[in-house]
């Protein structure tokens, strides 16, 4: 009993979040009229975040709880923080937009939001493959609904449909992989599999590993399993896109690192080749396809694919010192703040779907530098950071770490492709800056109505900007934290 309580307390973030979702649903039934749904959801997120700070101290290396279903190790602690924090920021960014678009009014959105975040939390913590599958589904299914939450918008429904079918399709692959691994080892505990994967048919092992990787990489949105990503990112309401690009991607990457390094750690030569290829394709395709985008949102979608590629490159740096892990985690944090920031500005600049005048064409950014100088400066900061050009130091350091890790592990060729593709990326990031500063807003019509963002929005964007600056100047503490976390699982 004592153990159970102890274990439950270590799960506090996920529990609080799940409870929050339930409470929100109850309140939706009980309360009439408008009420601060986002505020309540935010409170739960804050509570979860605060609880992580407490429970994280008890997370130890290799510790599993709840009969080996959940990891309570520093790696999990890191992702607890990242996911809760990211979700909170994404919530704050999207709040006013959702309210304006009438999505919030229907009530279930924030419940789904919390469910999805719960799933993401558990996904990174799961120590068992069925647990992994379940949490993945919790996260995904809530997300499918969130993608389609702009009911009146056809694009939103289409995005939900595509995401749902392809997501389920890939989940089936993942599940099949789990089944094969189970057949191979007789267990679904990650720790047990890692030691047991040695007997039996190698062919089955390969199929199991392969299918697992496909299922996970799909969620990351890596090429060639990325096809859903641009469409879904594009069609989903922008706050959902921001959430997907950051929180969901973080969770998927977290679990991928754990599966690849812990579960299949011994099989590194087996999967390294495929990850190498995937990382390479992801970087190149993501960047190249973004070049000609006129839709900023879609451009950010491709860009987030490309960034996943950089991070995946670090997967390969599974050398003795696990530098790749630290690099990947640092990059993930930097990526989260800068991408959220960019989406925030996008939200503020583009009009909603209200009168069918929905557009996130790059021309919406024309002359932003004079219309909204602060917003434009922040956007420049985020974009430069994404491009890896100082003063966007956070992104530059992130790239610095992952490329360094790759080269240290001997992947010079991959790193060269990576830096060249990142040079390509400068083109499309800078194009937005071109629009903001270099092109005067020549349209005689009224300049696009800017959403009147709330205090939440301002707070979130300030946090993102501060994050980019702070991470850029003092990356050391985060990096060493990430290094500790990934040193041993």
């Amino acid at each position: 009993m004592n153990t159970l309580w102890h274990d439950m307390s270590l799960c506090a973030p996920a529990l609080i979040m799940g409870a929050g979702a339930l409470v929100l649903m109850m309140l939706e039934v009980l309360l009439r009229g408008p009420w601060p749904r986002a505020g309540v959801a935010g409170l739960f997120l804050i509570a979860a975040l605060v609880s992580t700070l407490f429970v994280n101290q008890e997370y130890e290396v290799g510790q599993t709880i709840l009969q080996g279903f959940i990891y309570a190790d520093p790696f999990a602690a890191f992702f607890n923080l990242l996911i809760c924090g990211g979700a909170l920021l994404a919530l704050m960014i999207g709040e006013s937009y959702l309210q304006r678009e009438g999505i919030e009014a229907r009530g279930e959105y924030y419940a789904l939001y919390l469910f999805s975040t719960t799933g993401a939390l558990l996904l990174c913590n799961s120590a068992e493959l069925i647990m992994l599958f379940l949490s993945l589904e919790i996260m995904s299914m809530a997300l499918y609904c969130m993608c389609g939450s702009a009911l009146a918008v056809r694009r939103s429904a289409e995005a939900a449909l595509k995401y749902f079918f392809l997501g389920s399709f890939s989940s089936a692959f993942l599940l099949y992989g789990i089944a094969v691994l189970y057949g191979l080892t007789g267990t679904m505990q990650i720790g047990a599999i890692s030691t047991a994967i040695s007997y039996k048919e190698p062919i089955l092992a390969m199929i199991g590993v392969g299918l697992m990787i496909v299922g996970l990489v799909f969620k990351i949105g890596a090429v060639p399993f990325h096809f859903w990503a641009p469409d879904v990112y594009d069609g989903a309401p922008t706050p959902v896109t921001a959430y997907m690009a950051c929180v969901v991607k973080s969770a998927a990457i977290g679990v991928s690192i754990r599966i690849l390094w812990v579960c299949f750690g011994a099989l590194f030569p087996l999967w390294a080749g495929s990850v190498w290829t995937i990382a390479l394709l992801t970087m190149v395709v993501g960047n190249v396809f973004a070049v000609k985008q006129r839709s900023v949102k879609r451009m950010l979608a491709y860009s987030s694919i490309a960034h996943a590629g950089y991070i995946m490159m670090a997967f390969l740096a599974q050398g003795g010192t696990y530098e790749g892990g630290a690099a990947a985690l640092y990059y993930l944090v930097a990526y989260t703040v800068m991408t959220l920031g960019a989406f925030a500005v996008l939200l503020a600049v583009t009009q909603g779907p209200g009168g069918g005048a929905f557009s996130d064409d790059i021309s919406k950014f024309n002359g932003l530098g004079s219309r909204r100088p602060v917003l434009a400066i922040l956007m420049s900061l985020f974009l430069l950071s994404l491009a890896g050009i100082p003063p966007g130091m956070a992104g530059l350091l992130g790239k610095f770490y992952v490329f360094s890790a790759a080269i240290k592990s001997g992947y010079v060729g991959l790193a060269i492709v990576g830096v060249l593709s990142s040079a390509i990326s400068c083109f499309y990031y800078l194009r937005v800056i071109v629009a903001m500063y270099f092109v005067e807003d020549e349209s005689s019509e009224v300049s696009p109505v800017l959403a009147a963002p709330s205090a939440y929005f301002h707070g979130a964007i300030a946090v993102c900007a501060a994050g980019v600056v702070f991470l850029g100047i003092f990356p050391g503490w985060l990096y060493s934290f990430a290094a500790q976390v990934t040193e041993r699982f």
Binding site: I130, F133, L134, E137, M141, Y144, C145, G148, L151, A152, V153, R154, R155, A157, E158, A159, A160, L161, K162, F164, F165, S168, F169, A172, L175, Y176, I178, A179, V180, Y182, G183, G186, T187, M188, P230, D231, V232, D234, G235, R298
Partner: protein, 100 residues
């Protein structure tokens, strides 16, 4: 006694049928059913392996998968419905506004 291989091959066949169905069919409902078929084929695999290993992990997994499938059904149908509302069609090929 039917050897395990038979179950596995059957499951694989079912899975493949599901995959092919997802790829070739346009009707969203049929596609959805194909995905269910894939999940169920995995269930069969789980059960087969469970029997082979003599532990219940696989069978428990099947229950979870069934729950997930049920949830998927709920959500999936809802999404299909909303797509139908938006475009008066449940052909997946009609839902191709988002591209490039």
């Amino acid at each position: 006694m039917v050897p395990i291989t038979h179950y596995l091959i059957l499951a694989l066949l079912m899975f493949s049928i599901g995959v092919v169905g997802v790829i070739v069919r346009r009707n969203a409902i049929v596609v959805f059913m194909c995905i269910e078929l894939m999940l169920n084929s995995v269930n069969l695999t789980f059960v087969a392996f469970s029997k082979q290993w003599g532990n219940l992990d696989g069978q428990i997994a099947v229950f979870f998968v069934m729950v997930v499938a049920a949830a998927e059904a709920a959500i999936g149908l809802a999404i299909i419905l909303s797509v139908f509302r938006a475009g008066q069609s449940i052909e997946t090929s009609d839902a191709a506004e988002l591209k490039f």
